[in-house]
Amino acid sequence: MVVEALKREGVEVIFGFPGGAIIDINDALEKDGTIKYVLARHEQGATHAADGYARATGKVGVCLVTSGPGATNTVTGIATAYMDSIPLVVLTGQVPTALIGNDAFQEVDIVGITRPCTKHNYLVKDVKELPRILKEAFYIARTGRPGPVLIDLPKDVQNQKAEFNYPDKIKLRSYNPVVEPHNKQIRRAYRLIEKAKRPIIYAGGGVIISGAHKELKTLAETIHAPVTMTLMGLGAFPGTHEYSLGMLGMHGSYCANMAMANTDLIIAVGARFDDRVTGKVEAFAPLAKIIHIDIDPTSIQKNVKVDVPIVGDSKLALKKLNKIIKEEGRPDEAWRDLHAAWWDQIRAWEKRHPLIYKLEKDVIKPQYVIEKLYEMTKDKDPIITTEVGQNQMWAAQFFKFDKPRTLLTSGGLGTMGYGFPAAIGAQMAFPDRLVIDIAGDGSIQMNIQEMATAMEQRLPVKIVILNNEFLGMVRQWQELFYDKRYAATKFSVTPDFVKIAEAYGANGFRATKPEEVESVLEQGLNAEGLTIMEFAIAKEEGVFPMVPAGKATTEMLLV
């Protein structure tokens, strides 16, 4: 019954790990044979892989695990997806209904545990409810602000027989996300845009979720406004576009943060004014009026006061806005003139402090690796995933993302160990594309067991490890704010990653000098199958600019 429903939902691949409480569904999947099942090596890996699949495709990722420890192992993956608004359906086995509450073998109240980190969850008590619940779960996961939905399936319910009535449509009286933005609000937004002399577009993950990148580009090009993106928004607007200021926030560009501090109008689209972006809220964009387009009312006016809230899908909202702008018919020259002085100022900031780093002769700079990687792969339309820490920030700063769904990274939860399994999920979705995990030596060890999964599925994922033998991001904080006491951040043992690769039957390459970087990338990218490229980078390199936590975004520490 579950398998039948999954087929109706168009599920093509499931990531999972088996166990006694879910064996029947695995068995049914095997007998049926339509849906591809990817056996992970850890349930966290399975969940991140489903998440990576969802981010790369925009479809719902599906994960199937057993009760008890199988279920609890998914929690980090679920919370990761929840924070970044990623649609997942996680199916967990559960002890038979008669035993629930009995501390039965491998029983855990996973519905209770995941209540605060799922969009919704269900315990199925009656097989008759199963079709409706499965239908609802997929619907809730993908609509409105997407998110993970968990369904707990007691073993007896999995095995009961009932007539399979899969509903075509559903209507939930208590769940009706607003999609269509209000015309009046759009018109009010235009009135502000019309007057603004120093506008900026602040684009977030919501643009990617709703596929509004084209409309966003039209808006920016029509009114000649600069665009800055959150970490989650990278790819929503071409990073190589002359109007892109790159990422803003804690490790954003000097120019983007200065522009936000001096703008008179923020046009926020699918972004949630996270504290990594605003810094000290009281000092954030003091001169600005704010237009905020978001599908989730709770994102609006949560952290900052908004002048024109627009609740709805950002693609629809931008379409309407672009239409009004066109109808109003202000000539191109007029928009240009209006913002000319603003652009002069922006270009001056760009020139004063561009993103830079010092090249050195004897030691590999991580930024250089990323720049080279970008140059060598930009024509291949790669999907980049990242781990968490400095590696993630260097990727965000020095790789240019021109298309949506090409950067998959854990922003909200910041989950180390996300990148590699996510790359597996993305590669499952796009077997022929180049998928690269940019990793740190710490993070990669958190889900390194998934190398077996990638080998088994013959996935040619490329892993670039920036090895500083440190939990570098934390070390950077210690360097700056804890008198260089490197408590618990120095690894005195790091494995030989090349040997690890070989042990799994994958390829391994290592560069220890700057002049080897290019050739290692060359060999690694051209090698067939799963490949690790390890770069021994400057151990105490920092990520700059940096806005210290709790400081105003103009108080950036520069290189």
Partner: protein, 161 residues
């Protein structure tokens, strides 16, 4: 500022815990809470008293609405409304105080619902202020036990849930 919210939620397992979890997880406070089924057995009516400035209350209402199980939220304290609580108070009633307690009940329109040789059990209904006044006055006489409900509320006129 104190706000009284009226919430209609799907009558299904976990709904209440989603709501209380939302308050504890996001650091909002609940001053009182009462739940009961409505005429439609598939919906429960929840009255919730909370405190916060306008931004917090706006966030609380939006967050409640975001829950898949929540059907409707109204801030009844935005307009004119009536609210009631009920308490059962078991008070020591010796010979010399029995008459006085009855007199007080009369003034506050409370009811004696149980009598024993040494105690009266009094039922009080009213807004929170009345609960306070009655308990303050009864305290010196010796309150042995007290049980209180949360607030229930309803807007006056049209603006019904």
């Amino acid at each position: 500022m104190k706000h009284t919210l009226s919430v209609l939620v799907e009558n299904c397992p976990g709904a209440l815990s989603r709501i209380t979890g939302l308050f504890s997880g996001r650091g909002f406070n609940i001053e009182s809470l009462s739940v009961a089924p409505t005429l439609d057995p598939t919906l429960s009516h929840l009255t919730l008293v909370t405190r916060g400035d306008e931004f917090i209350i706006e966030q609380i209402i939006k967050q409640l609405n975001r829950l898949v199980d929540v059907y409707k939220v109204v801030d009844v304290s935005e307009g004119e409304f009536v609210e009631r609580e009920m308490a059962l108070i078991k008070v020591r009633a010796e010979d010399e105080t029995r008459a006085e307690i009855l007199r007080m009940c009369d003034i506050f329109r409370c009811k004696v619902v149980d009598v024993s040789p040494k105690t009266y059990t009094i039922e009080v209904t009213g807004p929170e202020s009345k609960m306070k006044a009655v308990t303050e006055l009864l305290k010196p006489l010796g309150i042995k036990e007290i049980a209180r409900t949360g607030t229930i509320a309803m807007s006056r006129e049209k603006k019904s849930v």
